[in-house]
Symmetry: C2
Subunit: 335 residues, 2 copies
């Protein structure tokens, strides 16, 4: 593996930590090298806040100046303003690796391509071009500034990272969550570690809608809020033919939440991020709609009798640790 690929792989790994949490933005990672030392490794964390490149330059500034900034680095306007005001040439010996072409358009945040054109790093290495029409053109702007460019390093992996983003341009991206022991046993209270539970709440806080099965509501009586992160609870769709639920359970009493009960699936046609938690019945009912699975595997074997009983071929996409647990991202193999 070349050094280029190794650095890009680090940026990709960092981006996967925020996969889906940037909805409706893509997950993007960035790494900065100075004098062959890594001086920054960052990822875009949340839509409306600073992009990966901006966080990376701020972090590189801190490393290289051995100082700390005194403003909110996630405030993109402040961060851009700060970087624009640095002495020219500050980053002229830096190489930046970005998993996606820097954005050329001004949205909620200023354009990263304009920023990079001004900061003029020695070289910009990009895994893949921006696939959205009208969002491309970032690299052209850098080229005009005479910045050395390299495109296509780890492109396949970068496109896998981008898949949810590409899907939710056209229709709902659908993620199904499974929490289990390492030998596939489910149920019996919290299985996974605090870091995994926090991650679930982070996903709940950004999804368009959460969907659960009627049986889960009846049996588990869940609240489905985001208390581990302090965020607003997601709107809920209970996938059920019948509306016979006990309205006294906490699910229905969360503030500012909409709960809808339906078995009509046209919601999946709308560009959005649908997050499903449920049992095998839900997988069976929705397997044509599910794009990806996210398995949290707790480090234990269990004699518990419950497990998902369903036949489905998957393709493993990315695996990582979260606290002591294993996080395993996969997609349904539709071939």
């Amino acid at each position: 593996m070349s050094s280029n690929k190794i650095y890009m792989t680090q940026a990709l790994k960092k981006a996967w930590q925020y996969q889906l949490r940037t909805y409706p933005n893509p997950a993007v990672g960035a790494l900065i090298l100075y004098n062959n030392e890594i001086v920054a490794l960052e990822a875009h964390q949340k839509a409306g806040t600073s992009h990966a490149e901006v966080l990376a330059f701020i972090s590189a500034y801190e490393t290289l100046s051995a100082g700390e900034i005194d403003f909110d680095r996630f405030d993109a306007h402040k961060a851009h303003e700060f970087l624009y005001a640095l002495p020219k040439e500050f980053f002229s010996e830096c190489i930046i690796y970005v998993t996606l072409e820097p954005c050329s358009h001004e949205g909620k945040t200023p354009s990263c391509a304009s920023l990079l054109a001004e900061l003029k790093p020695k070289k910009v290495v990009v895994a893949t071009l921006d696939p959205i029409e009208g969002h491309d053109g970032g690299l052209k702007r850098l080229e005009e500034q005479g910045i050395e460019l390299e495109v296509g390093v780890c492109e396949k992996e970068a496109l896998e990272l981008l898949e949810p983003f590409l899907i939710w341009q056209k229709r709902a991206f659908v993620l199904f969550k499974i929490a289990q022991t390492s030998n596939g046993k489910i149920g019996g209270g919290y299985l996974t570690c605090k870091e995994s539970l926090t991650h679930v709440h982070q996903l709940r806080s950004v999804c368009s809608k959460m969907m659960i099965g009627g049986n889960t509501v009846r049996v588990d009586r869940p609240t489905l809020d985001c208390r581990f992160t302090g965020d607003n609870a997601p709107d809920i769709i209970i996938y059920s033919k019948e509306d016979n639920f006990d309205r006294d359970i906490s699910l229905f009493s969360v503030n500012n939440r909409e709960v809808k009960i339906t078995n009509v699936l046209k919601i999946f046609d709308k560009p959005s991020f649908i997050f499903i938690e449920g049992g095998e019945g839900m997988i069976n009912a929705l397997k044509d709609k599910i794009d990806w699975f996210l398995q949290y595997q707790a480090p234990k074997l269990s004699s518990h009798t419950s497990s998902y009983s369903i036949d489905l071929n998957l393709e493993f996409l990315f695996q990582d640790k979260r606290g002591v647990d294993l996080l395993l991202w996969s997609k349904i193999d539709k071939e």
Copy 2:
């Protein structure tokens, strides 16, 4: 993460690909940088053959000279001889990362420390010192040559990699294999991919003894050979109180194999590598003896009813892909 750690992590990952396959040697990985480009990434593959550092220098030679060697690189004597004959200074701009202190003693293969002292790379970065008394001293020899040294990069991870090696100095290291779907279902013919099956046979070919349960012999009637790698089949211990096995099954007819039937466990006291394949009964019977688990997870959910039914806390050590499968190394959490 610093560049040093990233390079060492690559060397560790490479070494994990050969974890246990180097028995009775430790798993070791090495990476060589030239002009900040990776020119070699290698691991020790099999006891009695060239060590990681030697394979890395050979591979770096090929990269830097854009040529190919014309002898067996795994023949340590030939490889050392070749490297000694290269022009002095050939590697003088190289930095080598090794997960373990280069060996100072002459065993089946010549000393790597002597070789490095002669090749004089610019810098040697080592994750951890050789923990075996009498095997240390490698670094001292390099220091005497004025080679720049750095020790302790990713030391915790390097010690995890070394754990089996440290255990089999004193007693048996015991690995239990589990092949399952991603949701923990077992049985029903081959579950895992060809690359995983080959890996199992690679482990069988180097273990001191394979151990299986009496029930597995009676029900599955396995052969337990190494036909995917062409190696000799391992000796078998059938863990059983009774000797009532059908001697016509292929297990008993493999050439040059010893099959022993016993329920006496003193074999575990002897420095060795015991590889267990079996059902939950075997885990239950031997859980005080098992050190590590190796799970092969096939990328599928299955409705099969069989799964391991046992309660055991684990600690995940390392996860990797093997073909389309996930390989998950863990140890029993004995706290």
